[in-house]
């Protein structure tokens, strides 16, 4: 940068443009590679000669994912979808409702409850898989989908974000609703919740991504193939002595594709979610 300081703006701009172009290629290259590998056959993949794109597309890599019972990919994808599709809306709604109550409903002891919620923020997420396993295991959650889902439904950080949001929510609007005879529940359901759409979408999208990509917890609690998520299925074949390389890459493409699509469609909300929360971990 020090050298570009004296350069005329035109040069500086084109250097910047060139850098941007190179970096874009670099960042997107792994996606290309994944797709290429998924469409090759084993021979082509291990051949010493580099090929940019398979001359014959091996789509059967994808179909074999679902027809091969040993891979179990169909069920694993179904499990992942179920887990993420339940976790995202439920965790977001629970956080929103609790955030509203903690922000608005005056009951004695609310400060203490809030402090108890805040205190759990200090606890790092993954390290405590042993305590979580102890509880979920004792409730019979091993190798079940609800065991995978349940601990992820309660997100203290989202509660605080929603609480801050509702604290800033103009109380005039709520008062109007109150004059119309709404109680606390009505105010939340009819007024506060409908105006939290952007927050719900942002935090919901992030929750979906986290849940879909989660690895350690599903690994701990869902060891039986019937409870595998897509990540666990993929990992099992990656760490076993597998020979079906193209199949593995096809599996990876299938697990990545939904999230990439989501990123492209809902990027505004995802960016918003990351920026307002910076959550994770």
């Amino acid at each position: 940068m020090a050298t570009t300081r004296q350069l005329p703006p035109v040069v500086r701009r084109s250097v910047r443009g060139l850098m941007a172009g190179l970096l874009t290629v670099l960042f997107l290259a792994p996606f290309y590679l994944m797709l290429r590998n998924a469409l090759m056959d084993t021979q082509g993949l291990t051949s010493p000669d580099w090929t940019w794109w398979p001359s014959t597309m091996h789509w059967e890599n994808f179909t074999s994912l679902f027809s091969d019972p040993a891979l179990n990919m169909g069920q694993a994808l179904g499990n992942s979808l179920l887990v993420a599709a339940i976790t995202a809306p439920v965790s977001t709604l629970l956080a929103s409702a609790a955030g509203y109550a903690l922000a608005r409903i005056p009951i004695p002891g609310r400060g203490v409850l809030l402090a108890l919620v805040v205190a759990t923020l200090m606890i790092p997420g993954s390290v405590t898989f042993v305590p979580t396993f102890v509880v979920v295991g004792s409730m019979g959650g091993v190798n079940t989908l609800w065991g995978i889902i349940a601990p992820g439904l309660f997100n203290p950080f989202a509660v605080l974000l929603f609480r801050n949001f509702y604290l800033q929510f103009p109380s005039e609007i709520e008062e109007a609703g109150r004059l119309d005879g709404l109680g606390w529940l009505g105010l939340y359901r009819r007024i506060a919740l409908p105006s939290s759409g952007a927050m719900l979408a942002s935090l919901g999208a992030l929750a979906f991504i986290d849940s879909w990509n989660a690895f350690l917890w599903p690994l701990v609690i869902g060891q039986d193939p019937s409870a595998w998520t897509a990540q666990i299925a993929l990992s099992t074949f990656l760490t076993s002595q597998t020979i079906n390389l193209p199949g593995l890459f096809a599996g990876a493409v299938v697990t990545i594709a939904p999230l990439v699509a989501m990123f492209l469609v809902a990027q505004r909300y995802i960016v918003e979610g990351i920026a307002t929360s910076g959550l994770k971990g």
Binding site: F31, T46, P106, F154, E175, W184, L234, I256
Partner: protein
């Protein structure tokens, strides 16, 4: 922090009752809406509070008691052994080695990711045409799981074949083909680990920096430019100081994430036959996983969870104290 909810506004009470209690005296006025408030509070916040209570407080309490127990293959309490598990843990060379290695990993990955995400944010922020495309390109790896990235890094980019990408690129510079993940001297697997996590995470932190950059008023730059400041000086005098809070947050998030690294280590180094035994590097979480899930020693595993939690919380608090110093000025 954040200790007090704002006092309930007077309006609520005033507006809340008149219809129901036209001639209510003061005490009635207070109790009626209170009970209703309790009901609503319980309905709205109850599920979350119960969940947090169960999966955080009960879990941690139980696990703490387990850490004081001999608990192999059982999560039942009863066989108390005092601090034995902690003693065993801290004297275990494998655990201590894992701590050293995660520290080394953190020392590498945090500054690299920090610098890269800041650099990308500055680039995206300044570019005029195609900013959205650029941001998408950097952010989209965040959609990929560690498992999928590990697959690509292990089996394609750094697969150790002469035709592998890394070896091909190395060949252009006259390097011999090497098995990246298996070579321990020099420990080339660090390149694999760092590039993988960097690719996955950098976009996420870039977004945080971008948000910070957008919060800097343009006038500050204009004023400084009038004083003749350019390029590097603007960066040092305005941009970086104004990004201070963002930087602190990014550093903390990175530290917490790095210290709990597990996914890519597991997927890069584990093999179905020998588990993690042959792995050149194991993180503390990997150690915990092997202890609690492999050997089913829940007492020792619980002790490990507490030691690691204490370490993370401790460092975070110290970091917060150090960097929070002088925060009032802003």
């Amino acid at each position: 922090m954040m200790k007090s909810a704002p006092p309930p506004t007077l309006h609520h009470e005033r507006v809340g009752c008149p219809a129901a209690e036209p001639r209510g005296t003061a005490p009635v006025r207070r109790t009626r809406p209170d009970r209703r408030a309790w009901g609503a509070f319980a309905l709205l916040a109850g599920p979350l509070l119960i969940g947090l209570g169960l999966f955080k407080y009960v879990a941690i309490g139980w696990s703490f008691l387990l850490s004081l127990s001999e608990a192999r293959g059982t999560i039942a309490l009863g066989h108390w052994v005092g601090l034995d598990n902690y003693r065993t843990l801290l004297s275990d060379a494998v655990f201590r080695k894992s701590l050293g290695q995660i520290l080394l990993f953190t020392v590498f990955i945090v500054p690299v990711t920090f610098a890269a995400s800041l650099g990308l944010a500055l680039l995206v922020h300044r570019i005029r045409r195609g900013r959205a495309v650029l941001r998408t390109a950097f952010l989209i790896p965040a959609a990929v799981s560690y498992v999928a990235a590990s697959l690509l890094w292990k089996m394609s980019l750094f697969n150790g074949l002469p035709s592998g990408i890394a070896n091909t690129v190395g060949g252009w510079f006259g390097m011999d083909a090497v098995p990246w993940l298996q070579t321990t001297s020099p420990p080339l697997y660090w390149v694999v680990l760092i590039t993988l996590r960097l690719w996955l995470q950098v976009g996420f932190y870039m977004v945080l920096f971008l948000a910070g950059l957008q919060g800097i008023p343009k006038e500050m730059y204009e004023a400084a430019a009038l004083d003749g400041a350019t390029g590097l000086r603007l960066l040092r005098r305005i941009t970086l100081p104004m990004l201070r809070n963002t930087s602190v947050a990014v550093l903390m998030l990175q530290f917490i994430a790095a210290f709990q690294a597990f996914d890519e280590f597991y997927n890069l180094f584990n093999s179905g036959l020998s588990g993690s035994a042959a792995a050149p590097i194991r993180t503390p979480l990997g150690y915990l996983y092997d202890t609690a899930m492999g050997s089913q020693n829940y007492g020792l595993g619980s002790a490990g969870a507490f030691v690691l939690t204490a370490l993370i919380v401790g460092v975070t608090l110290i970091q917060g104290r150090l960097t929070g110093f002088g925060k009032g000025e802003e």
